[in-house]
C-alpha cells in the first residue's frame, strides 16, 4: 500500500515515513512538501492513503483535500496537525480522522488500518469552521482520472456553458481552456474580490479588462487582455463594468 505523506517540515516527513515503514513492511511512504506536490504525487503514484498536514505553504492541506475528494476514486485522507484550535473542533464535529503531532505509532497504525473516505460535505463544513485555511488558491478539474490544477491568479474568465463551466486561463503564455463542474454563482461569491460578473454566463477577472466596445447592433463587447474574441456584457451588468473601468 502506498501512503503519501504531505508535510512542509522535512523532519516531520522523515519521522512519519519511518513510522509507516515500521508498522508494515508493505507500506510504501511517498513524500510531498506542500499541497501542490501532494496532488502531483496523487496523480503520479496513486496512493491509497494521504497523511495531510493542515498548515503548509503554497496550498494548505484542507484545500488539497478538497481537490482530491472530487476524484472518482479518491485516496483516504487523514489530517495531521500540531495545534489548531479551530481545526480540532472541526475534526470532532465532522468525525474526520486526524492525528496530533508528535504522532504515536499505535495511533497511526490504528488510523491506517481503518481509515474511511472523506466526503465533500465534511470538508465544506470544516472549511466553514476554519476561515483561516478555508480559501482556494486553485481550482481543479479531473481529466482521465488525474487532477488538473489551475491557479486562480492565472484565470481570465469563467464561462457558463449548459451544464459545465469553461475556464480560460493562461498557461505558458497562451490561453488554455478546461472544463469544471461548478456554478457561476458560487464562483462569483467565492472570488468576489478579483472577479466580476458581466453576463448571466460570464465571470471575468477584473484586472484583465482592456476595452469596452459598442457593436453596431447595440450590444457591448468586453475585450480582455491576451484574448482574441470579446465577451458580451449584458444590459444589467453594464453599469458595474463601467464603474469598475472608471475607478
Amino acid at each position: 500500500m502506498k501512503i503519501l505523506i504531505a508535510d512542509d517540515e522535512p523532519l516531520a516527513r522523515e519521522r512519519l515515513s519511518q513510522l509507516v515503514s515500521e508498522i508494515d513492511a508493505d507500506y510504501i511512504p511517498v513524500l510531498a512538501a506542500n499541497g501542490l506536490e501532494a496532488i502531483e504525487q496523487v496523480n503520479e503514484v496513486e496512493p491509497e492513503v494521504v497523511l495531510m498536514d493542515i498548515r503548509m505553504p503554497g496550498m494548505n492541506g484542507l484545500e488539497a483535500a478538497q481537490h482530491l475528494v472530487k476524484m472518482d476514486n479518491p485516496p483516504a485522507i487523514i489530517f495531521t496537525t500540531a495545534y489548531d484550535e479551530y481545526a480540532l473542533q472541526a475534526f470532532e464535529t465532522q468525525a474526520v480522522d486526524y492525528l496530533l503531532k508528535p504522532i504515536r505509532k499505535e495511533r497511526l497504525e490504528k488510523a491506517l488500518s481503518n481509515c474511511g473516505k472523506l466526503n465533500k460535505l465534511q470538508l465544506e463544513q470544516m472549511g466553514q469552521q476554519n476561515p483561516e485555511v478555508a480559501f482556494r488558491t486553485h481550482i481543479s478539474a479531473q481529466i482521465r482520472g488525474t487532477i488538473l490544477l489551475v491557479a486562480i491568479k492565472d484565470i481570465y474568465c469563467f464561462l457558463a456553458d449548459q451544464k459545465y463551466i469553461s475556464v480560460k486561463y493562461i498557461k505558458e503564455g497562451v490561453i488554455a481552456e478546461t472544463i469544471i463542474e461548478d456554478t457561476l454563482k458560487s464562483l462569483e461569491e467565492e472570488f468576489a474580490d478579483d472577479f466580476l460578473r458581466i453576463h448571466r454566463n460570464a465571470l471575468i477577472r477584473k484586472n484583465k479588462i482592456e476595452a469596452l466596445q459598442k457593436q453596431e447592433d447595440g450590444r457591448f463587447l468586453l475585450k480582455l487582455a491576451d484574448m482574441e474574441e470579446g465577451l458580451e456584457v449584458s444590459r444589467r451588468h453594464l453599469s458595474s463594468v463601467r464603474k469598475l473601468m472608471k475607478s
Binding site: 517540515e9 500540531a82 488558491t137
Partner: protein, 334 residues
C-alpha cells in the same frame, strides 16, 4: 444568593426588634411577626427578580439595576398592603392601631427602600469582583500566548521526536534550547537583561526553528554595533522573530530571509528586523498581542524614550526598535 437574602432579612428583623430601648416580652413576639413579614418579602422579591432575569439581561447594567430596584419597591408595596388588610381582617389591632394605614406603608417603604438598595449594591459589587477575576485569569493566559504560540511548542516536540531517532545529539541540544526558552517565558517579564543574554536566547529560538524549517529559514545577523552590556527588556527580540517566521517564512514554499540590523547613535540603540512579507499571508490571522506587549514594556522601562515602529514597503516588512543605551553597570548603580 437566596441564602444571602434570608440572612440579610433575618439580621434586619433583629435590628428592628432591638432598636427600641425597652426589651419586654412583647418585643420577642414582635420579632416573630417582623421576621415573617421580612422573609416573606425578601423571598418574594428574589423570586420576582429571578423571573425577570431573562428579560433584564438584554439591557444595560444601569437600566437593569434601576428596574430591579423599582420592582422591589413595587413588590414591597403590594406585600405591605396585603399584610395590612390581613391584620385588619383578623383584628390584630395592637400592632396597627399604633399607626395609621399610610404611616404603616410609608414606614415599610422607607426601611425596605434603604435595605434593598444596600442589598443590590452588595450583589453588584460581588458580581463585579467575579467579572474582574475572570478577566484577570484570561489576560494572563493571553499574555503567555502573546509570548509564544502553542503551535511552536507542539511543532518543536515533533521535531525532537524525529531527531531522537536520527540525530540524538541535536535532539539533546534542541531540548536544552527549548527548556531555556520556556524558563525565560515563565519568568516574570518585568526585568531587564543584558543584550548578550537576549541575543543568546533568540539564537536558541532560531536554532530550534531552523531544525524544523530547514533551508527555508535563513537569518542574517548584523548586530555588532550593539554593545553586549546594553540592558534591554527580556524577550524583546524573540517574539519579533517568531512573528517574522509566522508571517514571512512559513507561508512561503521557498521560505525567506530574516535580517536583524543593529546600530548605535548618540547613546540611542536601533534594532531593525526585516522579513519578506508573504503575499499568502492575507488570510493568516496575525497576533498583534506580541507587538502591543513589547510596546507596553518598552514604555514602562524607558518612558517617552523608546519606540517600536512597523512598516511595509515593497513586500518587505520592517520592525524598528529604538531605545536608549544603558549599560549593565549604570543599570546596577540606578
Amino acid at each position: 444568593m437566596v441564602f444571602a437574602v434570608v440572612i440579610i432579612g433575618q439580621l434586619l428583623a433583629f435590628v428592628l426588634t432591638l432598636a427600641p430601648l425597652s426589651l419586654d416580652q412583647q418585643r420577642w413576639n414582635d420579632l416573630a411577626l417582623i421576621s415573617l413579614f421580612i422573609q416573606w418579602n425578601g423571598l418574594l422579591c428574589s423570586s420576582v427578580l429571578c423571573l425577570l432575569r431573562p428579560t433584564l439581561k438584554k439591557y444595560s447594567n444601569q437600566f437593569a439595576a434601576a428596574s430591579s430596584y423599582l420592582t422591589l419597591l413595587l413588590v414591597l408595596t403590594l406585600c405591605s398592603e396585603l399584610s395590612f388588610y390581613i391584620m385588619e381582617y383578623y383584628q390584630m389591632t395592637e400592632i396597627i392601631t399604633a399607626a395609621s394605614h399610610w404611616e404603616f406603608l410609608l414606614h415599610n417603604l422607607l426601611i425596605g427602600g434603604i435595605i434593598s438598595a444596600l442589598a443590590l449594591r452588595y450583589f453588584y459589587i460581588q458580581y463585579q469582583w467575579r467579572v474582574k477575576m475572570q478577566a484577570e485569569t484570561c489576560t494572563k493566559l493571553q499574555l503567555l500566548q502573546a509570548r509564544i504560540r502553542p503551535h511552536f511548542l507542539f511543532n518543536s516536540m515533533n521535531t525532537i521526536a524525529s531527531l531522537t531517532r536520527t540525530n540524538p545529539e541535536v535532539a539533546e541540544r534542541i531540548t536544552e534550547d527549548l527548556a531555556e526558552l520556556f524558563r525565560t517565558l515563565f519568568r516574570d517579564d518585568q526585568q531587564m537583561i543584558p543584550w548578550a543574554s537576549e541575543l543568546q536566547l533568540s539564537e536558541r529560538y532560531i536554532d530550534i526553528e531552523k531544525q524544523r524549517l530547514g533551508e527555508r529559514l535563513e537569518i542574517i545577523w548584523q548586530i555588532d554595533a550593539i554593545p553586549v552590556d546594553a540592558m534591554v527588556p527580556s524577550l524583546l527580540l524573540q517574539p519579533l522573530l517568531e512573528n517574522a517566521i509566522f508571517h514571512g517564512i512559513e507561508p512561503e514554499i521557498n521560505g525567506g530571509t530574516i535580517k536583524v540590523i543593529g546600530a548605535m547613535n548618540n547613546n540611542q540603540l536601533t534594532i531593525t528586523l526585516q522579513n519578506t512579507n508573504s503575499k499568502n499571508l492575507v488570510h493568516r490571522q496575525g497576533n498583534k498581542m506580541a507587538l502591543a506587549n513589547i510596546r507596553e514594556r518598552l514604555s514602562s522601562h524607558f518612558p517617552g524614550n523608546a519606540a517600536i515602529e512597523c512598516r511595509e514597503q515593497d513586500d518587505v516588512y520592517y520592525v524598528k526598535l529604538t531605545l536608549p543605551y544603558i549599560s549593565q553597570q549604570i543599570d546596577e548603580e540606578r
